[in-house]
Amino acid sequence: MAQRRIARLRRERGSLYRGHEGQWSWIAHRVTGAAIILFLFAHVVDTALVGWGPSAYNRVVAVYHNPFIRLLELGLVAAVIYHALNGVRIMVIDFWPKASDFNRQLIYGTVGLFVAGMIPITYLIVKPIVVKYF
């Protein structure tokens, strides 16, 4: 049954890519990857400031303690977690090509794991901000 459905889907649109979940996961992988590396450029420089002493480093790290920046931090953590989970999905398909037929299910699985992971992470990051400022 599943075999016939897969055969039909493959006939209709190849083994699915454009305009489906696969494309959205590809876009998300790209956007999160680019965001992470561009942040890393800044992060290497701000961390390197420890070499310029406590006053220089503590001044720059105070930026990360700002509540608005903490929300961006949550976005960064989400980007890293999504990119990591989706990267695992890509590797599953790379090394076990048959998984390609279940790409859609794997993507929903990835998103499910991502959401499940982000619930406690969001709580842990947002709680100290709320406690401190409200």
């Binding site: 890519y17 992470i36 590396i37 290497v44 420890v50 890293v80």
Partner: protein, 160 residues
């Protein structure tokens, strides 16, 4: 790092929708040459970064109080331990290579003019080299004890 992969500047776009071609999700991996080794590297470094970068994010940003506790003293104590120095340096190296190779892939997709491609990818490469040098020097030469304005408690903690 090869700046030009021989991919055509204006790639022929084949529609995978409704053609009946046996397309599978994702791209075919490159078979040989530099691109093949980058393909392998992205996967190997990806697995390592799964531990190093995700671990880093969870340790520094999620558990144990998050970024509020991070300051000069925190880093000074942490980098006294060769384990964390090695972790951070390995993560720096792999993340820069993995990330900049990703930016190179994106550049090859969207920047079509050959001269501009070389310039943009060259800029990523130089940025990566400078940050790698900066990070490496700081991780391995950092010595908190040489700063006179650190607290007495930190001085004792670091055995200055």
């Amino acid at each position: 790092m090869a700046l030009d992969t021989g991919r055509p500047a204006r790639p022929v776009h084949r529609d995978s929708l409704g053609t009946g071609l046996p397309y599978r999700a994702g791209r075919q991996p490159p078979r040989k040459g530099g691109e093949f080794w980058w393909w392998i590297f992205m996967r190997v470094s990806g697995i390592l970064l799964l531990v190093l970068a995700v671990g880093h994010v969870l340790i520094m940003h999620v558990f144990g109080g998050g970024v509020d506790r991070v300051n000069f003293g925190f880093v000074a104590v942490r980098w006294q331990n060769p384990f964390w120095q090695t972790w951070d340096w390995l993560m720096l190296s792999l993340a820069l290579l993995h990330g900049i190779n990703g930016l190179r892939t994106i550049t090859l997709d969207y920047v079509r003019r050959p001269g501009l491609r070389t310039t943009v990818n060259g800029a990523w490469m130089i940025t990566g080299l400078v940050l790698f040098a900066l990070g490496t020097i700081v991780v391995f030469t950092f010595n908190a004890c040489r700063w006179p304005d650190i607290s007495q408690a930190l001085r004792i903690a670091l055995h200055c």
